[in-house]
């Protein structure tokens, strides 16, 4: 099973040139070998640990937090393209 690095690069929109792809493909294969070692361990009846915070039920009250709300200027301050208070992107060809 060879993994198509170009396909993955496309999914995450990180374009990769052919020469780079070759290098990444080799590195990828090596890394998978390390990961495959995990299959040596028996994990039947073991539940996964996605978190180590040990916490549950952390919420916030339904209240407005004025301290964090950004002004329009602050919100737009790092954008390259803005227009009358909006961020601008190339036209999306259809509405969803």
């Amino acid at each position: 099973m060879t993994v198509d690095v170009q396909y993955l690069a496309k999914i995450i929109q990180m374009p990769v040139k052919p020469a780079e792809a070759k290098q990444l493909q080799a590195g990828f294969a090596k890394t998978i070998e390390t990961v495959k070692l995990l299959n040596q361990l028996d994990t039947t009846n073991i539940s996964p640990n996605f978190q180590v915070s040990g916490l549950t039920n952390i919420f916030r009250e339904d209240k407005i937090d004025k301290k964090r709300v950004l002004t329009q200027t602050q919100a737009l301050t790092n954008a390259k393209h803005t227009y009358q208070g909006y961020f601008v992107v190339p036209a999306i060809l259809h509405e969803t």
Partner: protein, 471 residues
């Protein structure tokens, strides 16, 4: 001694007793940066307001735990109005409109940020060589790497360009560069310090931590930055102890420290093994009981960490699309792509495809957590070298797709389990520092700090500084 060479405790005492002003202290650091950073490249951005803030501190009558103290901040912590890049070209011009909790707490405590330090781009590495802005150099030898990803912060402390620094650890990124630069690096437990405003790498292991000249300094900084944050749902509600005040034990009588044999394996450099053995003897002299133990083979931790971290990384970098900030995604560098590809693959094949790697990795993570739980039933801490060897030469990380994860293999198990640990200088080999790690269960910060403090007070390695004559 020059003011910039003082440690935190000394600087606080000096300011309190009005031996010097904050302005003089900051100026001394800025002078050091001016003369030495052209060789070390520890800083990316300097805070142009630092001296003004120092003047204000000198006028400030209100007592604050870190008033007037200069520090260096790793460039993945957002600073309002000050450029923040995570050493990545994608964020080259990013000026955050908000402040990270860690730097906000330091500010409230009176500390003054001198500037943002260099790191591996996006914290992806253990060398600081993958920075899009060029590597930082090890103050002990310019041809060597400072470690990473908090290499800039560690070098800044080691070269006395600040009184203390802040780094972040996903697996080793505070402790390993601290070891390679001969300073003290402390990683609090996952959930002890807020990640709000820290550019996320692996959300389930990222831990901000101090890099300091002494353990005592690290204890005080941790006290200031730790504690629950309503803006970070993974922070613990456990009260933050007065770590520095409680650092009074110099005897370690009754302390049980495990020595995992896997961390002293064959591939360890012989000098490192000797130094660790020496440290073991020192700790025994101080009253600790040390015993060898067996832990799960670190190769599994490497697999778990690599997979989980890269999966979370691929997700956390998805927000950088150039619409609201930053460059577009073509500006990502090689290592970011490298890690995202594996992460994407792992997440893609979760429900279909051959892998199911992600689920297996998270299950093995449970095994590792259980392994430590069992260990800590009989021991308070475990120790070992922080890193398999001393600093490596510039270029060592290149053409090695798993460099970072391999270098951190002695700390990855702890990272994925959320444990707390410290690295303190324990000797030198070939003129390069070696670090000793002491690691404890989650939320055992006091025990770790106490043990490290006692060890450090009985040794003098941390007092040795690099010869900074680079001309």
């Amino acid at each position: 001694m020059k003011l910039n060479q003082l440690n935190l405790q000394e600087a606080l005492d000096g300011l309190k007793n009005q031996l010097f002003s904050s302005k003089e202290l900051i100026q001394a650091c800025l002078d050091q940066i001016k003369t030495k950073d052209k060789y070390l490249h520890a800083f990316l951005t300097l805070n142009s307001q630092a001296l003004k803030e120092a003047e204000a501190a000198d006028q400030d009558k209100i007592a604050k735990p870190l008033k007037g103290i200069p520090y260096a901040l790793k460039d993945n912590f957002l600073t309002e109005g000050i450029r923040t890049t995570a050493s990545a070209k994608v964020l080259d011009e990013f000026i955050p409109p908000y402040e990270s909790t860690v730097s906000a707490r330091l500010k409230a405590a009176g500390a003054i940020c001198l500037g943002k330090t260099n790191m591996d781009a996006w914290a992806h590495g253990s060398s600081t060589e993958t920075s899009d802005y060029g590597p930082t150099h090890n103050p002990w030898n310019l041809n060597y790497l400072p470690g990473g990803s908090s290499g800039g912060s560690a070098a800044a402390v080691s070269a006395d360009m600040c009184t203390f620094a802040i780094g972040s650890e996903t697996a080793g990124s505070v402790r390993q560069p601290s070891a390679w630069c001969g300073v003290t690096g402390f990683k609090p437990s996952y959930g002890r310090v807020s990640r709000y405003g820290l550019i996320a790498m692996a959300s389930s292991t990222d831990s901000p931590g101090p890099i300091c000249k002494t353990v005592s300094d690290a204890a005080l900084i941790t006290q200031v930055i730790a504690g629950q944050d309503p803006y970070d749902a993974t922070t613990s509600a456990l009260p933050v102890a007065n770590y520095s005040q409680n650092l009074n034990k110099t005897s370690l009588a009754g302390l049980k420290i495990a020595i995992p044999q896997e961390y002293l394996s064959k591939d360890l450099a012989p000098q490192v093994r000797q130094l660790i053995q020496k440290a073991i003897e020192q700790l025994a002299k101080l009253g600790a009981k040390l015993k060898p133990v067996t832990l799960l083979d670190p190769q599994y931790s490497i697999g778990v960490y690599t997979l989980v971290q890269r999966s979370e990384v691929s997700s956390n970098l998805a927000r950088f699309d150039g619409v609201r900030y930053g460059q577009d995604r073509s500006a990502f560098s090689h290592e970011a792509k490298n890690r995202c590809l594996l992460g994407t693959y792992a997440l893609s094949s979760r429900y279909h495809g051959e892998g199911e790697y992600y689920n297996q990795a998270q299950k093995v993570r449970t095994l590792i957590i259980q392994d430590f739980a069992k260990l800590f039933k009989s021991f308070n801490l475990y120790l070992g070298p922080t890193s398999p060897g001393p600093a490596l030469k510039l270029g060592a990380s290149q053409n090695n797709p798993m460099f970072g994860e391999m270098e951190d293999r002695l700390v990855e198990a702890a990272a994925i389990s959320g444990l707390t640990g410290i690295s303190v200088p324990c000797g030198f080999t070939n003129g390069l520092p070696i670090g000793l790690q002491l690691t404890g269960p989650q939320f055992s910060e006091q025990i770790v700090l106490n043990a490290a403090h006692a060890y450090q007070k009985s040794t003098a390695y941390h007092l040795l500084k690099p010869n900074l004559n680079y001309d």
